[in-house]
């Protein structure tokens, strides 16, 4: 009996920003959408996030940052994942991110950006549409 592969997601907060209410609510919402969610807590370095994502074999990493350091932290996570042979893990982002930074972040490999006001449904819908479980691929 092959079980339907579950989508595994890691929600992580890189950097010094300790405001994780949003990340927690999102994690809970992902759970209710049927995903397996690994929440790693606040104050993570990009190195910790990338290493954990590979160990956990997630399909998607959702980064949240409200402190303004996203231009450094987000691309670094993508870069580290690629270095570890995990460039297929989709990285999306949320938080206080000025629209002017979108092109730069997209260029750096962030697949989608959700800012305040984005509905929880819209994020789940995006994931269901764009992320496939890596189960079975070897």
């Amino acid at each position: 009996m092959v079980e339907q592969g579950k989508i595994r997601i890691m929600v992580a907060k890189p950097g010094l920003d300790g405001h994780d209410r949003g990340a927690r609510i999102l994690s809970r919402y992902f759970r209710d959408a049927g995903f397996e969610v690994i929440y790693t807590g606040c104050h993570q370095t990009p190195e910790q996030i990338a290493a954990a994502a590979v160990q956990e074999d997630v399909d998607l990493v959702g980064l949240s940052c409200l402190s303004g350091a996203h231009r450094f932290l987000f691309p670094r996570v993508v870069e580290l994942l690629r270095q570890q042979g995990a460039g297929d893990i989709v990285v999306i982002a949320g938080g206080i991110i000025p629209e002017d930074d979108f092109p730069f972040l997209h260029q750096a490999g962030i697949k989608a950006i959700f800012t305040p006001g984005a509905s929880l449904e819209s994020i789940v819908d995006w994931i269901k549409e764009n992320v496939k479980t890596g189960s079975g691929n070897e």
Partner: protein, 345 residues
């Protein structure tokens, strides 16, 4: 580290995958664990190639009620074993929602300081319907970490109540975490979780009720007729995480105790007893997979399965007779084959 995914055009065969895992490749190991969780038949084929490399690790189970401090203790033990130069694998299990199939796997939060340490591999697993406090994939995932060469494998169960004791089938040493306020002596006398401890830890022992709890467990142990191998489970107290010096002292005592237990097991028939129990379980499960799954597959493919279900629903047939018929059909084929072989011989 492995090469970038874009270059991995050709899928690896099982032998190559096994070689990567025994060389400690994280990406290959974590994908194999995922495929085992998803019950992909190919994952079992890979396991065949690593099984013979397993059996070296000391497997330690940590169980206890939700919020008792399992992840915190696991984190402290990781640090403790790393200081001794041992490599550590962790399997941390959290529950799957019975309603949505989703899960929050949050044990890792407490252990994230080890994320970058190449000597530590931490993997969260969801129960996906298993009721024993673990995931169905735990046994196989232990083999994967073992084959990766981890010296110590820590298994953190879900937050348990009284009954989730499956950890004894997998761990050499079981640490049961209790916190003050669990109830009276009767709770300690009940079968289940209170029976499976090789080591009791009273966590948060700076709280009121710790001394009473100690007395209750001790009295419960006094009633035991005998202790296998003469090991009376010690009762250790761990307190105040925010007093780092005394906390680490207590963790050091716990770690020594865990090691002493393993040494005792290794020097007696106890280790073999556990290995035997695990081997019986594994062959049992593998047989089930090898016998039942192909039969189910046939029945479903031939369209027979749906018909049988509807006959049961309409009370035209009972499931017991149907199962006997199916079994008879398959076993007959097997007996016929055997006769043939016998005749040829």
């Amino acid at each position: 580290m492995s090469k970038p995914a874009v270059e991995m055009s050709k899928p690896l065969d099982d032998r190559e995958k096994a070689a990567k895992i025994t060389a400690g490749d994280v990406r290959t190991a974590s994908r194999l664990i995922r495929n085992l969780e998803d019950r992909l038949p190919t994952a079992k084929t890979t396991l065949k190639h690593i099984f013979l490399h397993t059996g070296r690790a000391h497997v330690i189970g940590i169980t206890g009620s939700p919020g008792a401090g399992k992840s915190t203790i696991a984190d402290a033990l990781i640090a403790s074993y790393r200081k001794l130069g041992k490599t550590v694998g962790v399997l941390a299990v959290d529950p799957t929602s019975p309603f949505t199939g989703g899960a929050i796997l949050g044990d890792r939060i407490r252990m994230q300081r080890h994320a970058e340490d190449p000597g530590v591999f931490i993997r969260s697993l969801a129960t996906r319907g298993s009721l024993g406090g673990l995931s169905h994939a735990v046994g196989d995932a232990i083999h994967v970490l073992d084959a990766m060469g981890k010296d110590i494998i820590l298994i953190e169960t879900v937050g348990t109540g009284q009954q989730e004791v499956e950890i004894i089938n997998h761990a050499h040493t079981v640490v049961v975490l209790l916190v003050p306020g669990m109830g009276d002596e009767i709770q300690a006398m009940k079968a289940g979780i209170m029976e499976i401890a090789d080591i009791f830890v009273i966590n948060k022992a700076d709280r009121e009720g710790a001394r009473q709890l100690h007395g209750i467990i001790s009295a419960m142990l006094d009633l035991a007729r005998e202790f296998p191998g003469g090991w009376r489970p010690p009762i250790l107290e761990v307190e105040n995480f925010f007093e780092p010096v005394s906390f680490l002292d207590r963790i050091a005592i716990l770690q020594e105790s865990v090691d002493r237990h393993y040494q005792l097991m290794a020097g007696s028939e106890l280790l073999e007893d556990r290995l035997k129990r695990k081997s019986i379980l594994e062959l049992n499960e593998a047989l089930r997979a090898a016998l039942i799954e192909p039969v189910m597959h046939d029945l479903v493919r031939e369209g027979e399965f749906a018909g049988m279900i509807s006959r049961i629903m309409k009370k035209e047939a009972d499931p017991y007779s149907l199962a006997e018929e199916i079994a008879a059909r398959y076993f007959k084929a097997k007996t016929a084959g055997k006769t043939q072989v016998a005749r040829l011989a």
